[in-house]
């Protein structure tokens, strides 16, 4: 297990990848959003939303892909077993996601306390997500980040093992499943109940579905990685 911890330490050797770049992305996204809020005349009394907070989450998708295409081959040269690479990498991402989720919850509290950063802007404490107790928002942010990372990581394991053919089959299959579900809902005329189901979801149930998806993706990527070659 010590070597799994070293896999995480190895990825922190370059401080920029996991600490510097995310910090810049969050700070940059916030600065741009704040500037736009400040530019809009005060006469508008409504709250202004910015989705820029998700920028760092998409960076996680990229990191998930890169960890497989570049860090995995390097870890093989470091004589790291696939198992240790997997646990070290997924563990590190979970840890970083925890820290950023915590940061978002704190920033959300500051946002509410300062009346939207003094300009009535909203970037971290959205209605619905932050309506409940603090840990609900924390869980939503955390699951969103882990899910995006797992999607990138899982897609990259498929690519690593079956290359372009794997990718094509994968996305055609995903599209086919989505189409099948849509067709099913249409033929059984159950769109109203589907709509109702979506409205009934709470931040916690959405996080639950995300967690379930993550577990499936995590299991799938582990089994795929076991036989991947650098």
């Amino acid at each position: 297990m010590n070597r799994a911890v070293n896999v995480a330490r190895m990825q922190l050797i370059n401080k920029w990848t996991f600490l510097g770049v995310p910090a810049i992305v969050i700070a940059g996204a916030f600065a741009v959003s704040w500037a736009i809020w400040a530019l809009i005349p005060d006469s508008v009394e409504t709250q202004m939303y910015s989705g820029a907070g998700q920028a760092v989450m998409w960076y996680f998708l990229v990191l998930g892909i890169q960890s497989l295409t570049l860090t995995f081959p390097f870890s093989q040269a470091m004589s790291v077993s696939r198992r240790n690479f997997y646990f070290g990498t997924v563990g590190l991402f979970a840890l970083v996601a925890l820290v950023i989720s915590g940061l978002y919850v704190v920033l959300g509290a500051v946002e509410q306390a300062t009346n939207g950063w003094g300009v009535n802007g909203i970037m971290f404490s959205f209605p619905w997500i932050s309506d409940g107790p603090w840990f609900e928002a924390f869980i939503v942010y955390f699951m969103a980040m882990v899910l995006l990372f797992m999607i990138g990581f899982w897609a990259a394991t498929i690519y690593k093992r079956w290359t372009v053919t794997g990718m094509v089959i994968l996305w055609i299959s995903v599209a086919a499943v989505v189409l099948a579900l849509v067709a099913l809902a249409t033929w059984t005329e159950s769109w109203p109940s589907v709509g109702l189901w979506f409205t009934q979801q709470t931040p916690l149930t959405v996080s639950g579905w995300a967690a379930l998806t993550c577990v499936v993706l995590a299991g799938g990527s582990y089994l795929t990685l076991r036989k991947a070659t650098p």
């Binding site: 070597r3 050797i13 370059n14 390097f74 004589s79 077993s81 198992r83 070659t229």
Partner: protein, 312 residues
């Protein structure tokens, strides 16, 4: 580790198939501890595939591989004792050589940072430049430094000299020999620059089209083939009933490479016939053996097929 008969790697009937193509075809050999091995062969002969399977970076189709008496795959007792930097090694996108060396120090227990620093100086490697911006030679140097300074019990070097200039290559050979003398370990060096590494090697394994053509101690190989030069008729007389690896003819003269150790009587016979005998370098021997194997592959069992190439 008490390995039976001192072998650190045992390979039996190893086959690797990529779709219909056989990259390795029923390969068997063993590697003894604390020797320097040369894994020689042409590009695409199967050298990298073989090393990848020995280090569990790739998977065999069938056969048996054991390293330190165990299967290397996902084996925490085996993997930390091996180091294999491939010729086309990938590094994390934003890594510099410095980052790579710090990683290596996390995973290789015998890592010697002072030694790595000395190698960086010798190879004049810019350690703060991103690896993807390095030249081919500098990239090779990164792999060479990790391979040497990790001092793993089994170290693989996969064509480590690509892009390195003559001075850097000599530095590598010198450091390898020097460090090996101080810290004996098993080294497997894949190469097609055979003459350059010939003096380093204690044992030679030649692989071609996925098959082992030669697996002998370097000492034994030297002198196992000779080139006989002289008037064609007399050369033919001398080489009759010997295994001919290669024949060159120029007018009435012939130069024939034959395998087999010569006895004193045979040397006298050659002298009496007025023939010149010359030893064959390891590179020549490998080239001739490989070409002879290829020729027989194409149905021509006539290994002494005449070639009309002009030579010294």
């Amino acid at each position: 580790m008490s390995d039976s008969n001192n072998a650190v790697i045992e390979v039996r009937n190893l086959t690797k198939r990529y779709r219909s193509e056989k990259a390795l075809d029923d390969v068997s050999f063993s590697i003894a501890a604390n020797k320097i091995y040369g894994l020689l062969g042409r590009n695409g002969a199967g050298k990298t595939t073989l090393m990848s399977i020995l280090t569990a970076q790739n998977f065999k189709t069938s056969g048996h591989v054991s390293v330190f008496g165990q299967s290397p795959y996902e084996n925490e007792k085996v993997l930390p004792r091996i180091c294999f930097i491939r010729e086309s090694q990938k590094y994390p996108d934003d890594f510099t050589p410095q980052h790579a060396f710090r990683s290596a120090s996390l995973f290789f227990a015998n890592w010697d940072q002072a030694f790595a620093d000395r190698l960086v100086q010798d190879f004049q490697l810019p350690v703060k430049r991103r690896i993807k911006k390095l030249s081919r030679g500098q990239l090779s140097a990164v792999g060479v430094i990790i391979g040497l300074a990790s001092r793993a019990d089994i170290t693989f070097f996969d064509e480590p000299y690509l892009g390195l200039d003559a001075v850097a290559r000599q530095l590598f050979y010198d450091h390898l020999i020097e460090d090996y003398a101080e810290f004996p370990r098993t080294v497997i060096l894949s190469s097609h620059l055979i003459d350059e590494v010939a003096n380093l090697l204690e044992h030679v394994i030649v692989i071609d089209q996925g098959r082992i053509l030669m697996d002998d101690d370097a000492e034994d190989i030297r002198g196992t083939a000779h080139t006989v030069v002289g008037p064609a008729a007399k050369v033919d007389q001398f080489v009759a009933r010997r295994e001919v690896l290669h024949t060159e003819r120029m007018g009435s003269f012939a130069s024939v490479t034959v395998s087999g150790v010569l006895t004193d009587a045979q040397r006298d016979e050659a002298m009496a016939l007025g023939l010149e005998l010359a030893p064959v370098s390891l590179q020549q021997l490998v080239v001739r053996t490989t070409m002879a194997a290829t020729e027989s592959d194409f149905g021509g069992t006539d290994r002494s097929a005449e070639t009309l190439e002009v030579s010294k």
